[in-house]
Structures are given as C-alpha cells and as structure tokens.
Amino acid sequence: MTEKFDAIVVGAGQAGNAAAYTMAKAGLKVLQIERGEYPGSKNVQGAILYADALEKIIPDFRDDAPLERHLIEQRVWILDDESYVGTTYRSNDFNKPPYNRYTIIRAQFDKWYSKKVQEAGALVICETTVTDLHMDGERVVGVKTDRTGGSVYADVVILADGVNSLLARKAGFHEELKPKDVALAVKEIHFLPESTIESRFNVSGNAGVVIEMAGKITQGMIGTGFLYTNKESLTIGVGCLLSDFKKQGIAPYALLEQMKAHPAIKPLIEGGEMKEYTAHLIPEGGYHAMPPLCGEGWMIAGDAGMFVNGVHREGSNLAMTTGQLAAETVIELKNENKPCTAKHLARYRAKLDASFVMKDLKKYKRLPEIFEKNHQFFTTYPELMNRAAHAMIAVDGVDKKSKERAIRRSFLNARSWKGLMGDAFKLWRAFE
C-alpha cells in the first residue's frame, strides 16, 4: 500500500495525542499509530494533569475530560524511618475554577483524549507497533509496522513513542538510554470509599491533595515517593534512578512495600484494596541527556526526547507542549509550502527554546549530576532533619539553646563544615 499522509505520529500518549490533535484540527491528513490495545492501555502515570498545557490545546477540555480531583493542597515530606518533617501549602485560591492541577487516571484520560483526536479527523490505528522508520537516504519518509502491508509514508514522522523510544535509537538519533538518566517508578492504585478519602485528607467536593516524599524511603537511592488522591482511590508510588536500583539490588516493589509500611503513610492507605500495580520508566536525565530533537523528516516529542522535569514532577505537560509545538511546526511549513527538511524543522527547536520547556530544563540541568554524586541528600539529611525536629519538639527538660547546639553538632559530625557549605552551594547553583 502506498497511502501517504501529511504526518505520522508514533504513540498515543500525551505527546502523540497533542501532536495528532493539533495537526488534524488544522486540517492535515494525520495517521497515528499506537501499539497498545487502545490508547492508554500501556500508559502509566501518577498522575497529575497540569491544566495549562492542555488548555492551550483543547480550551474546553474541562467539559468532558475524565478528571478525578483538582488539587488544593500540596504537602512535601522529608522522611526518615520513623518520622517526617514537612511543609504544607493549601490555598482556597486553588479551590476556585478554573482549576490549575488535577489528578487523573491515565487509562481513562487517554481514551478520552484519543476520542478527541479521532473527532478532529486523525486516523488512529491501535494494536500496531511501529518497528522501523522508512528511510530514503538520510531522510525519514515513513514507518514500517508489524502488520502485513504495514509500510506507510508521510512528509514527516513525529516520534512520540515514550521513554524507551526504540525507534529513535534504532535510527541512530538517540544513544542507548543510560541507567543514570532514567528513573524506574512503581505505582499502585488503592481503592477506598470517597468519604474515607475526604475525611482522611480533609477535603470535600472534588478537591484533592498531593504528597511528595523524599528521604530514607528510597534507601539512599536518588528518587522520590508520591501519593495522590483520586476520586475513589489513592495513587501511591515511588521512583528511583535505575542505576541506583541496580547498585542497591533492591526490587522496586519491595521498596514500595516498605514505603507503604512507613508509620506516617500506612494509616493513609489503610483498608484500601490494591487494584493496579504498574512499573514504568521516567526519563530524568534532564537537559544534558537530551537527544537531537529533529532532523530530515522527523521530530521527537515527549518522554522520547527526555522532556521531563524531575524536580517538579512535570512530564505530561512537557509532553503535551512539545507535541503541540512539533505539530505547529508542521502546520506552518505546510501553510508556507515548505518541505519538512532538517533545515525547516529546526524551527521546532527554536519554539522549544522560547517556551517554558527548555527554560525549565536548562534551569535544572545540573541537578541530576549533583544528586548523582551526592547521595547524602537522600540519606544523611533526612535523618538529621527529622532528628533535629524531634529534638526541638520533644519536651524533656533540656533547654532549647543546648538542643540547637546539639543539632548543629550532629550536622557537623555527619558532614564537615566544608561538606555542608558545599552541599548548600551545589543546591543553590542547581536551582538558580
């Protein structure tokens, strides 16, 4: 078959859907290929949806998208084995529409999104794996699939095939993923009655809470844990760098089990019934690990391009925005009657640079490296902070000044002055 499309989008995740929707809406002839049984069947996400990115693509998404709860409270916990110190930010501002962040269940959300894509006019083919790119010399001219008669051609191929992006690697656009650049996250969904969730988390209506966790729960590995409230379920998970998992020899599910048993977490999930267990990779290499993003007849969007902001747990929004920008690049070129050559597609890179995507990724570009070389952020400090808090809060006849002195000493014993100063400096530079 020699059917030809304006664009082929590989993958029906957040990035692929954004790209396919935007192009189809603009009247382009779009083919989207997804290997899962249906869009969302293979996708895992925490999951928090950042409204802003989606709003720019589908302004009225709130009308019918399957949203769980809008978030009005953010907690950050630093845990050691017995305790945590934390901060909470809750604001009624977040409880006024239009809401800014929502929890979603990816399987349902992706189905909805895909319906939108189809309504916009794209041809969506599921249960089909793209096995290779069709090359004409240096140029990508289409894709090959695992089905008979499976070659399809297009002016441009957008690779939105997720973190593993086998395709990009096969075509040599991308080197092998390095274990230090990807986190392995495991996640469970626990079902609880709506009323239990609302009373446990002090929310009502459709409001919800997110808890971000760091510290000894990851056993010295670089990573974080999270807990989100959905309508009738909780999402709980933990992710650490793959390289750390390898080094420590801990099984991800064992880590999650330990985390669930933490005295501060256990009561929150008590009585729930686990419905779903999934593991997924998150690209965390940041700016420095990014592959080339476009070339002759191709662009990369979403996780495939390492577009994840690990510090702020943002991924889906970057995926959507990069998908949208890639799509807009194609639309512009079509309107100007220009071919999708590397030269013209370089506009995609410029659009990325001008957006929050690259700005944020650049801002945190040193962080992965710093964390990688300084595991004390995930071992020593949480413990010290929790002990400090305990010492200050416990009433035991010791005067506060002595307590402060003891705390200072404990920090100094664990890390020298130089170490402490160095750590502070590193963090400051990373976030700067």
Binding site: M1, E3, E37, Y38, S41, I105, A107, Q108, L123, V124, I125, T128, T145, R147, T148, G149, G150, S151, V152, I189, F191, G271, E273, K275, E276
Partner: protein, 281 residues
C-alpha cells in the same frame, strides 16, 4: 450469501477483582475485549466468506464503546458493522438480548436476506450460552449449537452439514438454510489483520441503531423491563479452606510415596478404583 455474526464486548474476566470489603466487582480499569468465543465464530464466518464470497455483517448490542469491538471485527474482514445502542436496552438479560438482536437481524434482512447467523459458544461474563438459541427460536432459524466443524455447504440446495459436539461424541447434522450456528472454541485460529485492513476498519462508517432503527416493536420486551431474571445478590465465593493432605512416608522414596498415595486414594474414593479399572482394561 449473507452471514451475520453476533459479537459482544466483555470485560476481560482475568483482570476483574472483587473488593474484599464491599464485595463489589471492580470493573474500573478492566480492559474490554471481544468475547473470545465470538472471535472463533467470526473467523469461521470469514472462512466461509473466503470460500463463497459471502457478505459478513457483524452485530453487537452494547454501550457506545462497543464500537471498538466492531472495528476489530471489521479489521479481520467483516464487511458491515452495526451497533445497537440505546438506554432502553440497558439491563437486558438473555431473553431481552435475544429479542433485541433478533429484531435487528430482521431489520438487516430487509436489505439483504440472511443465510447464516453465527454466535459464540457463550460469553465469558454471562456464560449462559442462551442468546444464540434465543435468536434462532425468534427468527425460526435451524439451530446448530456447539459446532466443531462445518463439513459442507451447498448453496444451490441451501443445505449445510456440520459436526456438532454432543455428550460422548459428535453428531453429524444436515439442515437447511437459514440457520444459526454457535461455534465451539479451538476449531480455528483468528487471523491477523493487515495494515490496509486496519485502515479500512478505522474508516468504515458504522451503523448505529437505537431501538427504533432496530425495529423494536414491543419496547416492554427489551432492557430491564423485558428481562424475566434479576440478580438478587452478588457475593464472593467462600474460599476452599481444605488443604491437600500431603502424602508422607518414612523413606521419602518415590516408590513408597506412590504406593501410599494409591492406598489412601482407593480407600477414600473406592469409585475411582472401579473407574480406573474400567478405563484401563
């Protein structure tokens, strides 16, 4: 020749969990699949299509999402797809389901007479195996259930010969068209759709029929209203607590273990001694 295949979208029962406290089925996140037995029926129909240039129409009654099941059937090679969907169909049991499907098939007949109707052996959610026979009775079709082989089809004489699974053997039956066939599993293997098939399936316009389009004459006979049976209780089975009696011998020699097992078995279940004796001789 015109063949109608009835397919149903069902939750993948392998992935259904029961809430331990509320005893409710947790269907959220459970993927919907085409009832596996219906794919066997579809493949059998498609093989007839390949041999006799038949026209194959797939028919399903279900929620709008059942569209996915129809598109899958189209990708395998069905020519036409009809989705019966209407709030009024909700809550139907097998009697009401077969009424609705039979009405729809009558409607389909108006465009092109139907020679054969295929249904799965049973569904994996309802497991009743009654919808097929129900359709046959309502449409006055010859009924061939548990068919394990289509031996011959004579379109001139309008006769079909099949092998039908019976207790203790296989009946070879010959009957006249139009007939309804329910198909036993394992008699074929579903084909793999090609890329052009996938394109055709994705683009094919479905016919979506509500109860009027489906020609429902008596609205009291569909959906919950038309269902004689109601579920009065759903509950989780009490797990078997009896654990295996582990055969233990002093020696731990396989020979002794085997002998001890036989002794225990034949003492407690003397009927097995007879059974084995009878079958082995």
């Amino acid at each position: 020749m015109h063949i109608v295949v009835c397919i149903k979208q069902v939750p993948d029962s392998a992935q259904i969990r029961v809430h331990p406290v509320t005893n409710t089925i947790m269907r959220q996140g459970v993927p919907a699949i085409v009832n596996p037995y219906d794919l066997v029926a579809l493949e059998e129909a498609l093989r007839l299509k390949d041999r006799y240039q038949a026209h194959v129409t797939v028919l399903t009654m279900g929620p709008p999402q059942a569209e996915t099941a129809l598109r899958k059937a189209l990708s395998f090679g069905a020519d036409e797809a009809i989705l019966l969907t209407d709030r009024a169909f909700a809550g139907a049991d097998t009697l009401a389901t077969s009424y609705a499907l039979a009405s729809a098939i009558r409607q389909i007949q108006k465009d092109m007479p139907v020679d054969l109707v295929f249904a799965g052996k049973q569904t994996i959610d309802g497991d009743t195996a009654q919808v097929g026979p129900g359709i046959a009775v309502r449409l006055g079709l010859q009924m061939l259930t548990y068919v394990c082989k289509i031996e011959a089809l004579d379109l001139e004489q309008r006769e079909i010969t099949v092998q039908r699974r019976a207790e203790g053997g296989v009946q070879v039956l010959k009957t006249r068209l139009p007939a309804l066939i329910t198909v036993l599993e394992g008699i074929n293997e579903m084909r793999f759709a090609t890329m052009p098939d996938m394109f055709r399936a994705a683009r094919h316009p479905l016919k979506v029929w509500d109860k009027d389009a489906a020609g429902i004459e008596d609205a009291t006979r569909i959906g919950l209203k038309g269902s004689p049976t109601v579920v009065s209780k759903v509950f989780a089975p009490t797990p078997r607590t009896q654990k295996a009696e582990i055969v233990q011998t002093q020696s731990d020699q396989p020979r002794d273990q085997a002998a001890t097992l036989l002794a225990k078995l034949f003492t407690k279940f003397p009927q097995l001694r007879a059974e084995i004796g009878r079958r082995a001789s």
